[in-house]
Symmetry: C2
Subunit: 359 residues, 2 copies
DNA sequence: CTGTTAGCGCGTTCAA
DNA sequence: TTGAACGCGCTAACAG
């Protein structure tokens, strides 16, 4: 049997209202009464019914996180890290976290968002891995539902987000390979629909050109961000003649897969072949050899978008900047707080070195 | 503006009650009426308020999963896999999933469980990584709150669970090392409070003895289930003289850390040192070299405990078997469905081989 | 200071 | 076949 306010009221001989206010700590209730009520509540083991409270307060103190996983069986450390950051930060602000995994752009994903928004299942949602023409963002914007994204969008609307500078990040690692003397540098790309994919490929291409190297389409292979995908893409790249002396992958997981593929061929990573990644997941440091990569603070980004979302819900975040450019100069400062771009950092480890025979 | 039943009622000129029943598909409403109502609902973009429904129905269609993470920054593929299985299965049954991460045995963890149970925040919870004298299980049992565990317990109470046979699993891998000719086999253990820890250590010890090897306390090092922990434990083990020729870790993550430590010393895994793990996380297969380990189907276990929990909530699962042993024979069949022990499987890969100099 | 009334949005009696 | 009344548990507005 669960104890309700009514039970307490009956027990202490007061009205439900008074009990409610006594427990809420309102000061329009007699001190003695309050103490009596509180004692009774404690003794009877009272806990407020959270659902009833949500209904009455018209908010759920809940955030939703719909993880865009390609297959049912995902096990991407990237999402783990992000989830850890999100979960802990949500807890700090006394928000519950609703987690769901859905295939990107699937009907199930759309339905999940509709349910959350229209059914008022949560007070806000976290959108990650933004896509070109992202229907999630369009939908949430249309519905004026609170959300914060990890990643930018190509839609016109303006919304709060945190993103890392993918272009600059890929520049860093590509330049690193070029500086080491590599001239045939392969790229394991990501699904083209992802916003960061374009930027990373562009960063790679532009940096090659800046170093007098002409991008070779054969050296760019699509990947699906999984270890297996990196493995397969690397196999394709390493079958080329002449084969690349360096491979850059659009995330660490694929980079690790690429290393396996190379090692299977008997190549020594860092000598026969250099490999670079992106993300700096915890695994990267402990890989063999440790992976040279571009670091983005995933856990902290998870925390940050969560904090921003909570503030947005509580009205503490500057309202979203409009497309209206004329106001942008005056709103420069608030805009800086709601739209953050982080500069990634190159982490050089042992998986990269000079090419085997000087080039 | 959100559309409610009241809005539809006003629009079609009927009572809220009728609208509610029309949408629910009751057959005591005129066919024409039903169609009219449905059309209006669709046109107006009606979605039921989920919170209101929960309150009325006295259930939340929500499961809670409190992940026991030692630190805030966890990134354990084990939990990712489990979460994937749980999340997908929950979705299949139209249950939402509430995820929270809390430090094992902390006050925050206790408070989280109290909130879920007393506040009726969810209809059931999933308990994983069971511990000795597990207060979560005691609490949930006392409160008769629906739960299913991944792992057994040393408390008297009986409850539904799925577990893998840790003892048999460790026997397998220890015997494998012994068969290869290893005589000094180190063990990187797990936090002693975990139920599976005792079993794995026992499986290791007993198998050594069965092979005429006396367990050496110096060869058993505590680990915290993280990669870093495995790294450090392996460093300690490898500093011994003579050092072990094989190391078994209580989970794959530590095994990978141990491989790194060995490789840092210039040892070749599978030749100079054999390493074995436990779990068979996706990473294990793609490690370098691929890790010999004991496989337990984590994803499927996540699915399975979730399915059991849903059935338990819906009253489709046999009631928990009592301690009352006299009935056990008659209830053998139902008990078999609510208390499952899976037999793990040895996966031999390249990280294990004969000891360097024949022993 | 306390109680009455009212309502969050929905589903379920029970009459009509 | 439909509607009025009621309750889920809680909080807020208003009287007294």
């Amino acid at each position: 049997m669960t104890i309700t306010l009514k039970d307490i009221a009956k027990h202490v001989g007061l009205s439900v209202t008074t009990v409610s206010r006594a427990l809420a700590g309102y000061d329009d209730v007699a001190k003695g009464t309050r103490q009596r009520v509180r004692a009774a509540a404690k003794e009877m083991g009272y806990y407020p019914n959270i659902t009833a409270r949500h209904l009455q307060k018209q908010r759920t103190d809940t955030l939703a996180f719909v993880v865009p996983t390609p297959g049912p069986r995902f096990s991407d450390p990237f999402f783990s890290e992000l989830l850890a950051g999100i979960g802990n930060e949500a807890g700090r602000h006394h928000f519950d976290l609703l987690v769901s995994t859905q295939s990107p752009d699937s009907e199930d994903e759309r339905e999940t968002y509709r349910r959350i928004v229209h059914g008022r299942r949560a007070d806000g949602v976290l959108v990650v891995r933004t896509r070109q023409n992202d229907e999630r963002i369009r939908f949430l914007s249309e519905q004026s539902f609170p959300f914060v994204a990890f990643g930018r969008s190509d839609l016109g609307s303006s919304f709060p987000y945190v993103d890392e500078d993918s272009y600059a990040g890929t520049q860093l690692i590509t330049q690193h390979m070029a500086d080491l003397g590599h001239r045939r540098i392969g790229l394991v790309s990501a699904p083209a629909g992802l916003m960061f994919c374009q930027l990373r490929v562009a960063g790679y291409r532009d940096t090659l050109r800046a170093n007098g190297l002409e991008p070779d389409q054969a050296l760019i292979i699509g990947g699906d961000l999984t270890q297996r995908g990196g493995f397969q893409a690397a196999q394709t790249l390493l079958a080329l003649d002449p084969r690349p002396t360096a491979i850059i992958a659009c995330n660490d997981l694929m980079a690790l897969g690429a290393m396996s593929a190379a090692q299977k061929l008997g190549l020594v990573i860092g000598q026969d072949l250099s490999v670079g990644g992106f993300d700096d997941i915890p695994l990267a440091e402990h890989a063999h050899p440790p992976l040279t990569t571009v670091r983005q603070p995933i856990y902290e980004i998870g925390q940050r978008i969560t904090r921003m979302l909570v503030q947005l819900i509580q009205g503490q975040l500057a309202p979203e900047t409009r497309q209206d450019a004329s106001r942008s100069s005056r709103e420069g400062e608030t805009a800086a707080e709601t739209q953050v771009i982080l500069t990634p950092q190159l982490i050089i480890r042992d998986s990269s070195g000079p090419p085997p025979d000087g080039g």
